[in-house]
Symmetry: D2
Subunit: 274 residues, 4 copies
């Protein structure tokens, strides 16, 4: 990856704008949460080959993938609390079908084009990466935000960097990434953010039962079910962090996979440059 | 679909900006080019249900899809001419593998954030939609562009409206859409555009052998192989056309599907509003 | 299809034995019950090609298929009555998982090597094929069995011919096949058969609510849930019927797809010949 | 697994017959040859659940699998030598298509119902299992056959036991199984066998370049390409070996997957019993 220029920027994107690519590459063997294995697989069946009818040939393939592999966004229907989705709709056979949800599917997410904020928690802790075992707390997050000189407001997308995005090529290590505590999700929900994201597999610290909510991955319940806030996972935030780019225009365009519980995405951050 | 506001627009996107969603919805049964059938299929296997270990439950599924279903972008490796790809690289077993291409795969497409131009050819012809049988010619395209008061320049993304995007729900009719002649692709390539797109399945007029090039879908060969210009298909351009929005910031973020010949995308057009 | 000889028959299979192939061919586009579409799809991604490391090359592919496409057997877990499976086990999240059933999956079906009986109902009615609209009744089935001079006993596999197997190449017509009434399933269950089968998509007459049981496809509930009797669908019975071969050794070897609700199969009938 | 009785045996199968199940169970995570990963995956999307229209409910799923996962048979089109298949047919785009082969696909394999012979090489060597590093030689195979008191003749199916079938639950160990040398394949081809099989992943000793043929997996070329003899892999032979059952009726019914290079199968051996 690296800098991607926008040489023909139109209207409001300055010529000096820098586009940060926040998606991890997709391939079979990339890190995947165990319940979503085998994650992603692609085969090429139409090949360029000799002996075709004309000089032009066409190649194409099929992919088999969960919507939760690689860099992806969770739709609101992805999570339920006591069998209720966001907004209080009870899960029944009319809402949840073999081919997805009739409400709150990922196709209902409008394009995300909004202010984005990076909170570099690995930098704040002074570590290369935050490993599992010491979840990020609300007060740390607030302190890091303060130290970075940025504020978090309504409608923002907040990206939390754990530093694990640099380890995508090493799945067992990547899967031992640290995550946030319930307090972080609650606090962000209170700020009215539109979406959150992190450079780990599950946003939340995995495998921990929250003592108050009595559930694992509490942020998933707090954000998606209780507040209608989307979660983006497996982001690549290394370049933003390197450049100390803490504020940017964040763009994320989920595919309208009717009824699906999420979508693979390629988010970008656009920074004004100097 | 409809207007999507960006209430928290940051920096250079004005508060009055309008975001146009250019993706068609994805579901099994949507229009698909015969050689790419069955196109797209989604199943939900992890359900919200009673009797789980905790109050929070998680639902998710798998999709099986060609990269050429729905609104998508073609990577350069998608097409070859006499077994050579763009740049002159000959296709061999090191380049073309069972799991995709080692060069010119869709993961090599940088995020597209650039000036976009709509050329409304259905409007120019005074028809609801352009059907197969009367391919769009270069002179018409130039005239329409002139009438719209827009120019086409280097690095632009040019979207040609045939009016067929309104018929996505009716696959047999949609598949009878008209397309462009080879002359249009040649002319656009000469202008140095970065990508082209249309609201039909194949950009080119389907089923016609170009008399000069002796191939079907000549634009695919001219643009992808000879000039390295991407093609975006199955766009939804009705709202842009309705608003006579002919210039905009075009954003398209192809997934980095390593080695794949294309990617499903959700392009958007951002217009300044008044 | 046609006669398949067994020239090296061992032990108890006489040299004159004839093997009838009862499977329909598998390909995308074959008849499929709407709730199981797109049914079956196969792609070849590893190709024989030039430029490989050695003279020997290998080709292979992937198939994407429901276990209920083509000629297949239904496992007991395929059906439930008031959320209970055969044997009275209530369906819960421990039994029914995203990856199949922990009990009564198709892998629990022992190889079927037993006496088979064909009842040729199309012949009995004097028609080429039995179309939907006039379900096969118990008394007819008994009469046909009597006229054929065969009896049905415990452990038998009973195959009912509607004549529709000859129409596999014509999906819309094939899907209008007639089937059996609930009375037939009840009567066969009373005879203690091990499995039943037919040359149609659903064994039962499709789309009809049984007046007593108040369910569609009542035979599925009677046989699978109430009696633990397997159902085999989409058989090819034309050659057995042509030869008036009403008794045979029936062999069906379901794949041990752990937890799956059925399996594609290639049943055969072995007849002694004269 | 274990004994499976055939209580209603008809005609020529004696009541004392024993049916040996030679298929390994299928599930995601089972051993798979690296070039065929991820092998097999099954999801259940139609669930038994509350709130449906009637008391009867139906569950079903989709599998995504290579035809070379688990216990399977190789079709003749699976292998080529210098781009020629069995019978001398050269591979071209008319023969090898994106959806499989137009000749020699697995659908052309007639049901295998023939004499089977087990050669227990692990027993012959006095080891629990034959590991990679010491391929089985022709003279050993002949000696073992002789010691077992069986002959191998035209049309037989010959199953070679390495003892690795007991290790199916341990993929890394299983994949280190030993196999046969080219000499074994050549000798068996000379005997005119119809098919061969083994309880390992590749029949041949993996990773070894044959000094004469200059190819890996030479048996694949000798048997499939040069002699039209099928290969069955990943068999479960432990129970046959335990019972010293060296001759039996072998039944294997490949699915008619049009154009595919192999098929998952559930072979059985039927022995007369005493």
């Amino acid at each position: 990856m690296g800098w991607v220029s926008a040489p023909n920027a139109f209207m409001n994107i300055p010529a000096t704008a820098r586009i940060y690519d926040l998606e991890q590459p997709r391939y079979f063997g990339a890190p995947i949460y165990p319940s979503h294995a085998p994650g992603y697989f692609y085969t090429l069946h139409r090949h360029h080959e000799r002996g075709m009818a004309e000089a032009r040939t066409s190649a194409s393939g099929f992919m088999y993938t969960t919507e939760h592999s690689g860099t992806h966004i969770d739709a609101l229907c992805h999570q339920a609390e006591d069998l209720h989705l966001y907004g209080g709709r009870e899960v029944d056979a009319g809402l949840q079908t073999p081919h997805g949800f009739t409400e709150l599917g990922v196709e209902t997410i409008a394009p995300l084009v909004t202010r984005g904020v990076l909170v570099d928690m690995a930098h704040h802790r002074g570590v290369g990466r935050i490993e599992a075992g010491n979840p990020i707390q609300r007060d740390e997050l607030e302190a890091a935000t303060h130290n970075q000189g940025v504020s978090i407001g309504e409608g923002d997308v907040v990206l939390v960097r754990t530093g694990n995005g640099a380890l995508w090529q090493d799945p067992p290590v990547y899967l031992q990434a640290g995550g946030v505590s319930a307090g972080v999700s609650t606090w962000l929900a209170g700020r009215g953010v539109r979406a959150v994201g992190a450079d780990n597999m599950t946003w939340d610290e995995g495998g921990v039962v929250d003592p108050d909510l009595k559930v694992t991955l509490p942020g998933h319940m707090i954000l998606l079910v209780r507040h209608g806030i989307y979660i983006i996972e497996n982001l690549f935030l290394e370049e933003l962090a390197r450049d100390q780019c803490y504020e940017f225009t964040f763009i994320c365009l989920p595919l309208k996979l009717r009824g699906a519980t999420g979508s693979p995405v390629r988010p970008v951050a656009i920074a004004a440059g100097e």
